[in-house]
């Protein structure tokens, strides 16, 4: 099972992403929640087509509490969880793993640091995503952060933030977030990495 968490939604629009990065004309802006849902839907289709069971935290523009997102992921007993985000700043794909310190599994884990037992596997998953994205010719930035929903997930979890693709000068946007080809490349690379992750997890 793979859990896809399209961040924000409903009353929580997330970041405002201005054109031309967004779908709309220059000067207008779109909400982050729109892009995260679009990426989630695209990725779900690719994974389902490859025989991977997918659980999503939202399928439409609805408000989902951060704790509820982690609950969905934890109840799914997933092999991988991706929290999908979008931003106007930076370039390419930003991969973030929880900055909680790794810990041995315990009978009862603190909710806010439940990721501690899986963070080492989350780092491995981020490495696999990184390789697939680089292979697809995408710029990748890796980091650690404290993100409430991800910190409470017990599965290997990575936050994926999609930023516009920029040229060598890191300023000129070559593919905005609304670019269908760019979205397809990102979703394809993520799907390939998750497929490889699943196959490695099945190996004894």
């Amino acid at each position: 099972v793979v859990v896809l968490d399209a961040a924000h939604g409903g009353d929580d629009p997330g970041a405002r992403i201005k054109g031309p990065a967004g779908h709309g004309p220059e000067g207008q802006s779109q909400a982050e929640k729109t892009f995260t849902l679009a990426l989630s839907v695209r990725l779900r289709s690719l994974l389902t087509a490859r025989g991977i069971q997918v659980v999503t935290t939202r399928e439409s523009d609805t408000t989902v509490d951060l704790n509820r997102r982690a609950e969905v992921a934890n109840h799914a007993n997933a092999r991988a969880c991706l929290s999908l985000h979008a931003a106007e700043s930076g370039s390419g794909i930003h991969l973030f793993v929880s900055s909680v310190a790794p810990a041995e599994p315990e009978r009862f884990a603190a909710w806010k640091t439940a990721q501690a037992t899986s963070v080492t596997r989350s780092l491995a998953l981020a490495g696999m995503l990184n390789s697939a994205l680089l292979h697809a010719g995408l710029a990748v930035t890796l980091g650690r952060t404290a993100l409430p929903a991800v910190d409470s997930m017990t599965c290997p979890a990575v936050a994926v933030e999609m930023a516009p693709e920029r040229g060598p000068d890191k300023k000129m946007v070559t593919a905005g977030l609304g670019n269908a080809d760019y979205q397809a490349r990102v979703a394809g690379a993520l799907a390939a990495a998750l497929l490889e992750w699943q196959s490695e997890a099945r190996q004894p």
Partner: protein
């Protein structure tokens, strides 16, 4: 001929007007005295001009997710709290500049206060609510989030680590940001993480005794900076230090 009742009414109104005028004049005098008394109680000592010293700022760059150390010459006060505020103010001034690589509006005025407190409990430092600010071990030679080189995703090699005990004399910096800064901060995982990380790293570079950082906004705890980075945690500055 003016009727008698009109004369009486006019006289009464005249007396009332005069009385009101006197009362208002007295109230004005009292307010003036209070103002003068307040001025007398304010410090009259002129602020000392601190000598310029070198301060190391960890400046974020959105384009590659890095933090680069930048040395600036600043007049730094001796008081550690005031020193921290000046250094962080300069950092945020750089972010407010028009050509900033990590644009965040607000500038130095966004740092309302910085309090330095002794770390309350050594055990509390290693409890589950303490988070690394962001491990700089993931990227390349630069500090921060960094770009991995193809073939070098040594992400999985991170060993489980026990949070190190805090050395004696460790301090917790409470950084109180203004609501306007948080409201105007660009929303995004990377940009918010870089802001938090650069503040923690800058504090560590200039005040080595500061090992933990906690953030407040307008004196209150806030869930996230701008929708992503968790501000309810205590951040460890050791994890925001530049890589050697």
């Amino acid at each position: 001929v003016i009727p008698r009742y009109q004369t009486v009414v006019f006289s009464v109104l005249l007396v009332v007007s005069i009385v009101m005028g006197v009362v208002l004049w007295q109230l004005r005098e009292r307010a003036h005295q209070r103002l003068l008394a307040g001025e007398e109680s304010t410090p009259t000592q002129a602020p000392e001009v601190a000598p310029a010293e070198n301060a190391t700022l960890l400046v974020a760059n959105d384009s590659d997710g890095s933090l680069l150390a930048q040395v600036q010459s600043l007049p730094l006060p001796q008081d550690p709290g005031a020193r921290a505020r000046v250094v962080l103010g300069k950092l945020l001034d750089l972010y407010a500049a028009p050509d900033a690589n990590h644009p965040v509006p607000g500038g130095a005025a966004s740092i309302a206060q910085v309090f330095l407190l002794p770390v309350p409990d050594q055990n509390a430092a290693s409890n589950s609510s303490t988070f690394a600010a962001g491990r700089p071990t993931l990227g390349n030679s630069k500090t921060g989030l960094g770009h991995p080189r193809p073939g070098e995703p040594d992400l999985a090699t991170t060993e489980p680590r026990e949070p190190s005990p805090q050395p004696p004399g460790s301090q917790l910096a409470v950084v109180n940001l203004t609501g306007a800064f948080a409201a105007n901060h660009p929303s995004g995982l990377e940009t918010e993480t870089l802001t938090v990380l650069s503040i923690c790293g800058t504090l560590r570079a200039n005040l080595p005794s500061v090992t933990q950082v906690r953030f407040l906004v307008d004196g209150q705890q806030r869930a996230t900076l701008a929708g992503h980075a968790d501000l309810t945690r205590i951040y460890l500055t050791a994890d925001a230090a530049p890589q050697q």
